[in-house]
């Protein structure tokens, strides 16, 4: 159901929506590079440090409104996505590059959409210049002036939060031209990168406590808004579905490999933790001009941002990567797994004695009483 409030844009917003002045196609005189985007948790091939100069990097985002399944019970959800994934794809460029995005809203969709890039400057992040109705496309170019990981999301007036929590968000990573560095200026490189996009979902329930399904995304709006306003999600998922990054889809690595985990939450605070590991170097706020923090146990990704963590695996086995509000991790779905191969290091950890009966006898350190005068 579209209300007049939604169908007719507010005056303030309308004032910002101007046709972009027609510019010569290549006023920048820079080389162009088209990049084929890849579905999360993977990322398109890219250089970390680059010797090349600034370019115009071309990306295409096609908006898909579609019904998806969000948990093992088969709960259906009317999602709105960039390129058919929750979250949308990770885009990687370098400082000084220009990002040229073609945003396509196919005729088959019901909703108007746009895009706000947190890395961009002006026009509500591009939101004011990218309104597309079904059957339209728009091309926006913005300069990547700051390094870091930045969220992008859809933000159409009258229904901004709903589009975001329905799956329309992703991340752009702007790397320094000479790659990542630690506080002392030493180069930091990753062997693999995983992008974990966290999504809070607010699925309405009927009187019997069962999740409701809707024929169209528009029909879900009113009920969903009611649940959203209570600020308690029914699901908190990584990559669009409970268990999406577990089992056969667990993330993988080898002992000795350095993995970069980019974690975004476009709406709500989260606190990632790698169970069994650490964050060797963490840009908690996600901005590479700030030296990374070291040796973190858990880091905080504020809602509306993306952060990045580097870790070199030191032990083989199964790790869980969770939002460390454990209720959200275990009960609501905010858990992923890493499967890591390699050799076990007994120096780092060893089971000295397996579980067995409690032994009587000699006082242990715990039993020794120290008198303090």
């Amino acid at each position: 159901m579209i209300t007049r409030r939604i169908a007719f844009l507010g005056a303030a917003a309308a004032a910002l929506i101007v046709a972009a002045p027609a510019l010569a196609a290549d006023d920048l005189k820079l080389p162009r590079q088209a990049v084929e985007l890849v579905a999360p948790p993977f990322v398109h091939p890219h250089e970390q440090a680059t010797k090349e100069g600034p370019k115009i990097i071309e990306f295409k985002l096609t908006i898909k409104e579609e019904e998806v399944v969000i948990d093992e019970a088969g709960t259906k959800f009317q999602a709105m996505t960039f390129n058919g994934s929750m979250p949308g794809p990770l885009m990687v460029v370098h400082e000084g590059d220009y990002v040229e995005v073609t945003l396509v809203n196919p005729e088959t969709n019901a909703m108007p959409h746009n895009i706000d890039f947190h890395a961009a400057t002006g026009a509500l992040g591009g939101g004011a210049l990218t309104h597309v109705s079904p059957g339209e496309q728009v091309v926006l170019r913005w300069k990547a002036t700051r390094t870091g990981t930045f969220v992008y999301h859809c933000a159409p007036e009258g229904m901004i939060p709903w589009h975001v929590v329905s799956g329309m968000h992703g991340t752009v990573m702007v790397l320094p031209r000479d790659g990542l560095k630690n506080r002392e200026g030493k180069a930091l490189r990753y062997d693999r990168l995983y992008y974990v996009g966290e999504n809070d979902l607010y699925v309405p329930k009927d009187e019997k406590g069962k999740y409701k399904t809707y024929e169209t995304v528009g029909e879900s709006f009113a009920d969903t808004t009611e649940v959203m306003r209570k600020l308690i999600p029914t699901h908190v998922v990584f990559n669009g579905k409970v268990g999406a990054l577990t089992g056969k889809n667990a993330m993988t690595a080898k002992v000795g490999e350095t993995v970069m985990i980019v974690h975004s939450q476009a709406n709500r605070d989260t606190r990632p933790h790698l169970i069994g590991g650490h964050g060797d170097y963490v840009w908690e706020t996600g901005k590479f001009i700030n030296p990374p923090e070291k040796d973190l146990e858990t880091w905080f990704i504020r809602g509306g941002s993306a952060g990045a963590a580097l870790y070199t695996f030191r032990q083989p086995g199964i790790y869980a990567y969770v939002n460390h509000n454990l209720i959200e991790a275990v009960e609501l779905g905010a858990s992923a797994h890493f499967k890591v191969e390699g050799e076990w290091n007994n120096d780092l950890m060893k089971q000295v004695q397996p579980p067995g009966p409690i032994l009587p006898g000699k006082s242990s350190a715990a039993e020794t009483v120290v008198k303090i005068r």
Binding site: E72, A73, G74, K208, G209, K210, T246, G247, K248, A250, Q315, P316, G317, I318, A320, V330, E331, H337, K339, V340, E341, G342, E343, W344, N346, K350, Q351, Q353, P354, P355, G356, P357
Partner: protein, 289 residues
Amino acid sequence: MLLAMKIKAAITAAALASPIALTIAPVAHPVDSAITEIAAKPFQYRLAGDFSREGKPAEAPLRNVSLPAGIKIMNRQVTAGEYARCADDGGCPKIPHASEMVDRPMVGVSWRDATAYAEWLTNKTGVLHRLPTDEEWVFAAGEKVRDEALPLVDPIDPAQAWIARYEAEANRARPGAFDPQPVGSFGRNENGLQDFGGNVWEWTNTCFLRITLEPTGTARVTNTNCGVRVVQGAHRTYMTDFIRDPRTGGCAAGVPPANLGFRLVVDDEKLSAAYRIVERGFAKLAVGL
């Protein structure tokens, strides 16, 4: 409850000891589900629990065992309608948001809920009903049993087994449907019993045991934890007795059971008498593997 535990202990002992032949006259039974009686015969059983030998993890022994007097077991899992009758009668806890599909298996029940149902049914019918032991379940399930001797955790390099188990769990075929299906959807086994190994995992009475295998060959139970019970289905697992939702309470990494439900065995008087005889010798029999 205590009686049920004694029976369980007796049956465990009996299963581990040499078979005792008894003739039992069949009893007509006033429950909804048909009961099938299966005569005793030897079968392969992989013992449940955590085993070690000389301080190192050991594979659970696979034994030829035989139930002393066969088994009388429900043809199908207890249904939502049957459980509701118990709940309405005040005999069982009401399960919030239980399915209204009364003819489908009852799911979302803990071991405690299932035990309450068994006690209520026992009082109603005057005949002892209880959860099966793990041995009884394996015997009844027959060809539907999946014996998974998962790789042992090597204390020198525990990760190898963790990864192998994780991959084995990830590769297990998942049931097609998650919701409880009409009775019989998962077929019958060679004993004519329905829905073993479908999308409902069944509680047993068997407790979690830690057992040391001595060099002499005897098995010594070093810890018994009856707060954790064996759950059987498409695979065997262990679950804390108050868990109703296996998604978050089950297999830590890997794939948990889709649903928790149960079926019961009938333990009529003559069988009970036999078990009481066996029970007296339990202490000696427990180590006589």
